[in-house]
Symmetry: C2
């Protein structure tokens, strides 16, 4: 076994990068035992070289291209963040025969095909466990442990910020705006929370999960996406009455037609989840991914989905594996073939729905509402009606909550449009999907 050191370049020195550098330095002996050769940090790429970064200034460089080109760098760990300049740096590293470890979900959800091809051509490793669900191993279980099984469905809570906000709304009855403000104050939400609350972050992870679960190429643009900004305190009240919590879910499904043709659905939206479903009790900043496979049945993976140390744990796992591959002769085994399965349109996906509306409190209203569902062949599973009062305590109409059996997005949308036209319907307050039940 070679005792030649494995040279590492780290790009980016944020929370995760700082932790990765710390572990490489402080756990050097352990890592050498795990790998079979010492791991040596060659340099850290940063935008601006400064003294106060907790790393000797001599280690820092803003010349990323020079760093990833060094002959004594074997593995490049990319933790810079946005798609560019990360993509350019990773391509340069791969082309120069370096293995690459990255936590960059936006990039992997957009350019995975291009990057995988470059890695294949250079015969090096491209690992990205940290791109989905932080410390929780999901990429390796899906690509390796379940490689001989057939995955049917992946459903996950993969964004900590939105789960923190929704958990707070569920626990305290707070409005979305108040829960978001709290999350920002506590550092759980960024100054511009758009990527999280509008579901872009979860959509990137859904694309990655769908790609590896179904051995096909899915990009973030293929993912149907709704954020959590319209979820209200009233929705949580109704959800509780229905025995549910509300979670932002990333769902990936393989759909097989009667003729055996396969399509893939990847989608992100807030949904009602029955309390007896394992995802319903995943709270705060935690993440969890439920995988359903033909032989394995239902599996769940749970843990911290973000943060410097947890994400660094996933990066370090990839780094040790890439280093072991170098020491033991090359690169790790990988998927041999990716399909390009067609993406199912959201209109064709059957799910259950929850519709919350304000109506006039007069005879025949419920019957008129029910008739619209029936007309569009959307079957009703449960209805709750309750009287409402205005600020003075005077009766002012009623609220109707309808939960449907499975219906397509298309049929439901038509129903909701027709309901809005009804004279007795004052307002459609919200329409949410319900997941985690089969009927």
């Amino acid at each position: 076994m070679s005792e030649k050191a494995i040279g590492v370049a780290v790009l980016g020195l944020g929370n995760v990068g700082t932790e990765v550098v710390r572990i490489i330095e402080e756990s050097a002996a352990d890592l050498e035992a795990r790998i079979g050769a010492p791991l040596e940090l060659r340099g850290v790429g940063v935008r601006r070289v400064a003294k106060d970064r907790g790393v000797p200034v001599g280690m820092l460089t803003d010349d990323i291209d020079a760093l990833v080109s060094r002959d004594d760098v074997d593995i490049v760990v990319e933790l810079m963040g946005p798609v560019e300049p990360a993509r350019k740096a990773i391509m340069a590293a791969l082309e120069r025969g370096k293995s690459v470890v990255t936590a960059n979900k936006a990039l992997m959800a957009q350019s995975t095909g291009e990057l995988a091809q470059a890695a294949e051509k250079a015969r090096v490793d491209l690992y990205f466990e940290a791109a989905v669900a932080g410390a929780i191993p999901v990429i390796r279980p899906l690509t390796q442990s379940l490689a001989g099984d057939s995955v049917l469905r992946v459903a996950g809570i993969v964004n900590g910020t939105t789960n923190y906000i929704l958990s707070a709304m569920n626990d305290t009855g707070a409005s979305y705006e108040d829960a978001l403000a709290d999350a920002s104050a506590l550092g759980y939400a960024e100054a511009d929370p758009t990527a999280d609350v509008e579901g872009y972050d979860a959509a990137a992870k859904a694309a990655i999960l769908a790609s590896i679960a179904f051995h096909t190429r899915v990009t973030a643009d293929d993912v149907y996406r709704e954020g959590i900004t319209k979820v209200s305190a009233a929705d949580f009240e109704s959800a509780k009455a229905l025995g549910c919590n509300i979670k932002l879910l990333a769902i990936c499904e393989r759909l097989t037609s009667g003729k055996g043709k396969q399509r893939v659905s990847a989608r992100v939206y807030p949904a009602l989840v029955p309390l007896d479903h394992p995802l319903a009790s995943v709270n705060g900043a935690f993440n969890a991914v439920v995988v359903e496979a033909e032989a394995a049945g239902r599996l769940m993976f749970y843990g911290q989905g973000a943060g410097g140390a947890p994400t660094a744990s996933a990066v370090m796992g990839d780094l040790v594996m890439a280093a072991r591959n170098r020491v033991q002769g090359g690169r790790g085994p990988r998927e041999s073939k990716y399909a390009k399965l067609p993406i199912a349109s959201i209109g064709a996906i059957p799910t259950r729905y929850y519709v919350n509306m304000n109506v006039k409190d007069q005879p025949g209203v419920l019957s008129a509402v029910a008739a619209e569902f029936s007309r569009h062949e959307v079957s009703i599973a449960e209805v709750r009606q309750q009287g409402m009062t205005d600020d003075e305590g005077e009766p002012c109409g009623a609220q109707i909550v309808v939960v449907t059996h499975q219906a397509t997005d298309a049929a439901l949308s038509e129903t909701v449009e027709a309901l809005a036209e009804l004279d007795v319907v004052q307002n459609i307050n919200s329409v949410l999907r319900m997941e985690g039940t089969t009927t």
Copy 2:
């Protein structure tokens, strides 16, 4: 990429073997896409060749040695069961340069060093994901995903039979004997349930988990073991009052002394688990493993721990990985170095305890009992005393339940011995540990 077929021999045709053969046959096209070459079944080793096994008779052979020696066999899948003749067959396969996939926990817990050495010498793979927790990926996450982190603790429910029995006792208030009888009638317990209910099966899995989590060699003999046969309906009643469930846990811990010396503890026993701990709600035949690592924090893996199809899923994952390695040039990366950390004696392990005893109902009893705990420096966290009545409804003494703070097994054992000597103590009903809290 080579398109040469990968030849597979399956040894054993029980529930798991039958499923593995079925998947190899029915998912041939998918498996070829995953691997990069077709997977071809060369033969199935059985004790007795017969027509009614669901496999063409020509595929069956009782000459295991001839089967594993065939030149056209690349990978041997061992699913025969007991330690022998499985060990002999696996050694023969490894010595002839075949990669091996096994689900044999008893064997891996006993001979892992010998087998790993043989695999290393022959430069082939030895995979055993199915040996622990059925379909749930735990071996690969521990050996790969967490390879750059430092695992502190692994705690799991890894035996479905005992979890089924304990869940039934918790749900219905049944006695151990009745719950066992039900489990046997429903096929969840074997005719001779000793290996499950006395904790031998869980101890084998604890040894495997401790070995891979802490990069050291631990065998089943190193594991402290108590079964569930003495857990009573009264214990579940007390546990409920304390906000706990009772679970058979496999616990692996790395202990670091003040001087930095490391020891390993691996132990299996029934323990009270607070309801807010993720393992408390893992019920029925399900398994779950909680891993605590320095950077990752707490992770949980959950799913079906036994059964033909779930176990076959894990076997197939290993088989595809071993096959990919063959196609792509050799074998997978592996642990480079195993330590031989000393095993901590159970007497030195601090845990919390629950002690349930019958006492005379007279003044000063509680004080006498408390004094014994104090004398042995075992700190009490909670005491519950309640009067008891005999069959006629007459008062007949009291029951005292004591929950301690952390104490060593040695100190607690001495306390219990001293309590049993007390005149006012009529009977020590049970002593169980409490896990999942830190104080």
